[in-house]
Amino acid sequence: MMIKTTLPLAAISLALFAVPTYAGERIQIVGSSTVFPFATTVAERFGKTTDFKTPVVESTGSGGGLKLFCAGASLDTPNITNASRRIKLSEVKKCASNNVKEILEVKIGYDGIVLANSKKSPAMSVSLKDVFLALAKNVPAGDGKTQPNPYKTWNQVNPALPATKIEVMGPPPTSGTRDAFVELAMEGGCKKFPWIKALKKQDKKAYKVLCHTMREDGAFIEAGENDNLIVRKLEANKNAFGIFGFSFLDQNADAVQGSLIDGVAPSFEKISSGDYPVSRALYFYVKKAHVGKVAGISEFLAEFTSEKAWGDEGYLTDKGLIPMSVAERKSWKSKVENLQNLSM
């Protein structure tokens, strides 16, 4: 009878608890969804060209990844975490309190964040100030006062812009892209007001609230973490704009176009040279104690930092990574080779 046969099977499956785990046999990577395409590309090549097992890469977001990374030092915790921002001091402390004391930091390149719209509409050229005024919850109302954002159309923000409704889709606050957009574009535009810049010194908290809060009246729409979805929505709604990573613009150049920001178009060259204002650095972090203990970590590091991966013509550029300059690559590579400790 069924029940008589399934009982021993269940017992067997429970007995598997006693089986040792595979800790240390393969590299475990967690972290940012922005770095995910790059880390997985390297992991796949690494698995194919060496005899090591292909590393497992999870997409948990930068913050989530660092949390898992810092949770413990044993070999079955993640060995590497990716981040689309630099590790914070608080996270370093958290790590240290869990015995993860020595961390290797590796910068891998840059990523641009674009404000894009459908190719059916003309491209727009905005300044960071325009972006801030269009998307902030509260905007300056003169004499150092603020008011809830009254702007409904782009030409109310800046007469040079078209008279279309402000409608921008972007990632939710859990996303590293959102963090970077807020920090670089919103705050960048916010600072253009001299009195707000002065406010930073007097009341840092009020400054942050003013510059970092996105409007919630429907002009800015949180469209989820899936950048592809935003691209598809832009195709359908030609007046809307979307905020996403450069690699999605690169892959969908037939459907969407990036707006010029402060007069600079989001192109590979301009982001790489640092002219495009909304770009950020991408990193990953390695537990130094695991190097040599987990099979293949040093070889993986060598693969990631090789010219054929992160170089100007490396395979990561095909995936949309914007490489660092030759000098910067050289300096980071030597840091990796010497396993230099993270210094904040």
Binding site: E225, N226, A253
Partner: protein, 420 residues
């Protein structure tokens, strides 16, 4: 003859008949709308995903000079270099660096490995010139399948004029072929859409469901039998019943969090493994199985129990020899429906690390694995355009499995169900 019995409809009855007719039409309209949505969904997924059946290959003549190989270490030879040489030989007028890069991009980055496999399989080929079909890159494949519009301005296309020119030349020589895409069914995930397959996700889903079934079926069925046949009916059993019903409605992400804290952090079970995934899904499935099993036990008429008891069977004998076998088809149906639900679940797997990029096909329930719906989620999130096709194809595979499982449940019920 009189017409005494003819009913002459009064305005009132006419209104009642009309309202009945109207109601039937509403019902039909609702069914048509539901079917319409289904057809629309399956149609659009099928339309997008059907292209996966074929993969574009580019046929090249490759010269395998003996001096490029070290017989002791075949692996070390520069296979992708050989592919590049062959491409250059095919289009000798390509000179500048940028164009060469484009030319090499016609074939997948995996072309070197494909050549390696062929040579390793038959080292006697060294020294001759061979014809080999190499996988085309994702952009070329998408172009050949007609999903990139040639008439767009060049800057808006992933495939440029030079590439189209090369492709047309290759096509003129019949060197561009479309073959059945075995890689999609026999390989694991990949960052390159043309190489990505669903096997690792499929095996992962299988292991996960196996663990889930082995845990949830015995536990669920035993709990149901005890509650239905043995437990006294009092306030405590009512409380348990309410809790089980509530448990069935708990959002699945909560079970994922539970799995993270208990199975991973407390028990230290391996992250990303089908074992933990199956355990978490079992937690989710057990209430469904208990509820379905209790319902089918209740459907067994009391006369069966009374007959068994009256000739001296114990309650355990009554239950396991007479009642449970009759209720088994219903229990199995409930379990299969529960498993089908578990098969489509992603949320709880996020927390325990099964939402991951996994290339190697898992060999046991302890190795890192992913599941079908997770694979769909990951591909839908990838920037490369060619993944749209893969995403839809993976959805078709998942739907196929769901249909098979539900069909199985119906057949089981039809075959073994007894009406009293």
């Amino acid at each position: 003859m009189t017409d005494d019995f003819t009913i002459i409809p009064t305005p009132h009855t006419r209104r009642r008949h009309k309202s009945e007719l109207r109601f039937q039409w509403y019902g039909k309209a609702a069914i048509i709308a539901a079917l319409g949505f289904l057809v629309l969904m399956i149609g659009s997924i099928g339309y997008k995903g059907v292209g996966v059946i074929y993969q574009t290959k580019i046929e090249l003549d490759i010269q395998l000079n003996a001096d490029a190989f070290d017989p002791a270490q075949l692996r070390k030879a520069d296979f992708s270099g050989l592919v590049k040489t062959a491409l250059r030989a095919r289009f000798p007028d390509v000179k500048n660096r940028r164009q060469k890069r484009r030319l090499y991009g016609l074939v997948s980055s995996d072309a070197g490995f494909e050549l390696r496999k062929m040579v390793e399989g038959n080292p006697n080929l060294i020294g001759s010139t061979i014809k080999i079909q190499l996988t085309a890159s994702d952009d070329i494949d998408t172009f050949i399948k007609g999903k990139i519009d040639k008439n767009l301005p060049e800057s808006d296309r992933r495939v440029k004029d030079v590439e189209i020119n090369w492709i047309e030349k290759l096509q003129a020589d019949n060197s561009v072929v479309q073959v059945f895409n075995t890689a999609f069914f026999t390989s694991g995930d990949s960052r390159e859409p043309e190489l990505a397959g669903i096997l690792s996700a499929l095996v992962g889903s299988f292991f996960t469901l196996l663990v889930c079934f082995l845990l949830s079926f015995p536990i669920g069925v035993l709990a149901a039998i005890y509650l239905e046949e043995f437990a006294p009916k009092n306030r405590w059993s009512d409380l348990i019943e309410i809790n089980i019903n509530n448990l069935a409605a708990v959002p699945s992400i909560v079970f994922g969090l539970l799995g993270l804290t208990i199975f991973l952090n407390t028990f230290g079970l391996p992250r990303s493994s089908p074992l933990v995934g199956g355990m978490v899904l079992a937690l989710m499935t057990i209430p469904t199985i208990i509820i379905a099993s209790r319902a089918s036990l209740r459907a067994v008429p009391p006369s069966i129990r009374e007959a068994a008891l009256s000739i001296g069977a114990t309650r355990v004998q009554t239950t396991f020899h007479h009642v449970a076998p009759l209720a088994l088809p219903g229990m199995l149906t409930g379990s299969i429906v529960g498993m089908a639900q578990a098969l489509g679940e992603t949320a709880p797997l996020i927390m325990i690390g099964m939402v991951a990029f996994i290339v190697d096909v898992p060999a046991s329930i302890l190795e890192p694995a992913t599941a079908l719906p997770v694979q769909i989620f990951l591909w839908a999130d990838s920037p490369e355009r060619a993944f749209v096709e893969r995403t839809s194809a993976a959805i078709i595979v998942l739907l196929g499995f769901l249909v098979v499982m539900n069909l199985g449940a119906i057949l089981l019920r039809k075959k073994f169900e007894q009406r009293f």
